[in-house]
């Protein structure tokens, strides 16, 4: 069996679990961290699917800039979702 396919399966499963956790989490900063972990798993998937161009833009935007923007916004509103 191709090791790439196994890694794709593992990373997509990790991505899926953390998407689920981000959706059910009520504490918003925690949810943003879960979402960033999901993005890191997706970046690995893009690399395995041979799209390095997407990896280079996806990593800084989804792990760095997007959570940072969300943290700034959470800081200006409420921390816990009701």
């Amino acid at each position: 069996m191709d090791i790439t396919l196994v890694l794709i399966a593992i990373f997509s499963l990790v991505g899926f679990i953390f998407t689920f956790l981000a959706v059910i989490e009520k504490d918003l900063p925690k949810a943003v961290v879960f979402s960033a972990i999901q993005s890191a798993a997706y970046a690995a998937l893009f690399y395995l699917l041979r799209a390095p161009d997407i990896v280079l833009v996806y990593l800084p935007v989804s792990v760095g800039l997007y959570p940072a923007a969300l943290f700034f916004l959470i800081g200006k509103s409420e921390r816990v979702e009701e």
Partner: protein, 273 residues
């Protein structure tokens, strides 16, 4: 909590069943492992220095097929993408209108000394990687937007680790960042319009955003500089997009890191609103 675990496990089982059905049972038809015809065409044409055949009129003279498609074959597409990003930043600037520079205060010193020293070491590496992604955009994976996003991470690091006032200390104001971003956009406009100006002056047919010569147009951007492959328009467009995107993100994070009282003072909005 237990209910959500049941939901998670059932969703994962559905994914496994779907994956099994599509790969082993073939419900979506057979999966082809061959490279598609269109991909083969792009890979054959993207870098083709052979001047003996008529295929040279279809080349972008860049070994990086993605950048060739993004800035040459589908150049107008990327131009509109840049326009969308431009509009987003213009809207942010409109909301925060009147704020031109961030005052540098000693107040708000940021995170602990360990984090600050590590970040100080990381920032030069980040700049080097971003510039490398931009200037090698036509040779290796990457390009202007990727490099811009990589450099924009510095703005987040500065705002979080050294507090929002660090931009002022470094002499990086909002108006300066806007000026650098506008320089990037002007660069894209210049590269787009240069073939047109050449066509009017020399009296030949040219196309907007033209990179390499076409059957009915002899215009070509310089493909090599000092013996190095620069792929005509691609390196200039990548560098201009790098400036536009990175300083666009800088503007956004500078505005987001402002304290609410500062924003209210500039906008003339009281607490009652």
């Amino acid at each position: 909590m237990r209910r959500s675990y049941i939901v998670l496990i059932s969703l994962i089982s559905v994914i496994f069943v779907l994956a099994y059905l599509t790969t082993y049972m073939g419900i979506l038809g057979p999966i082809s492992s061959d490279t598609r015809y269109l991909a083969k065409l792009f890979l054959a044409l993207t870098y083709n220095p052979d001047t003996s055949t008529s295929l040279r009129y279809l080349t972008a003279m860049s070994p990086e097929a993605v950048t060739a498609i993004v800035w040459d074959y589908r150049g107008i597409d990327t131009f509109y993408e840049t326009t969308v990003f431009f509009m987003a930043i213009v809207s942010a600037l409109t909301i925060y209108r009147g704020i031109t520079n961030i005052e540098s205060k000693t107040q708000g010193s940021g995170l602990s000394i360990i984090v600050r020293v590590v970040t100080k070491l990381l920032i030069p590496m980040n700049i080097a990687i971003a510039v490398s992604i931009a200037v090698h955009g036509h040779l290796t994976p990457g390009g202007g937007f990727q490099a811009g996003a990589a450099l924009a991470v510095i703005s987040v690091l500065l705002a979080v680790v050294f507090s929002g006032y660090s931009f002022g200390k470094l002499g990086m104001g909002i108006s300066k960042a806007v000026a650098l971003r506008s320089m990037g956009l002007l660069g894209i406009a210049t590269v787009t319009l240069l073939p047109l100006i050449y066509g009017i002056v020399a009296g030949v047919q040219t196309y907007l955003m033209q990179n390499y010569m076409k059957v009915d147009s002899p215009f070509t951007f310089p493909i090599y500089a000092w013996g190095q492959l620069i792929s005509g328009t691609l390196i200039w467009l990548n560098l201009a997009e790098f400036l536009a995107v990175s300083f666009g993100f800088f503007v956004i994070f500078m505005l987001l890191s402002l304290r609410e009282e500062t924003v209210k003072k500039y906008l003339g909005v009281g607490d009652g609103h």
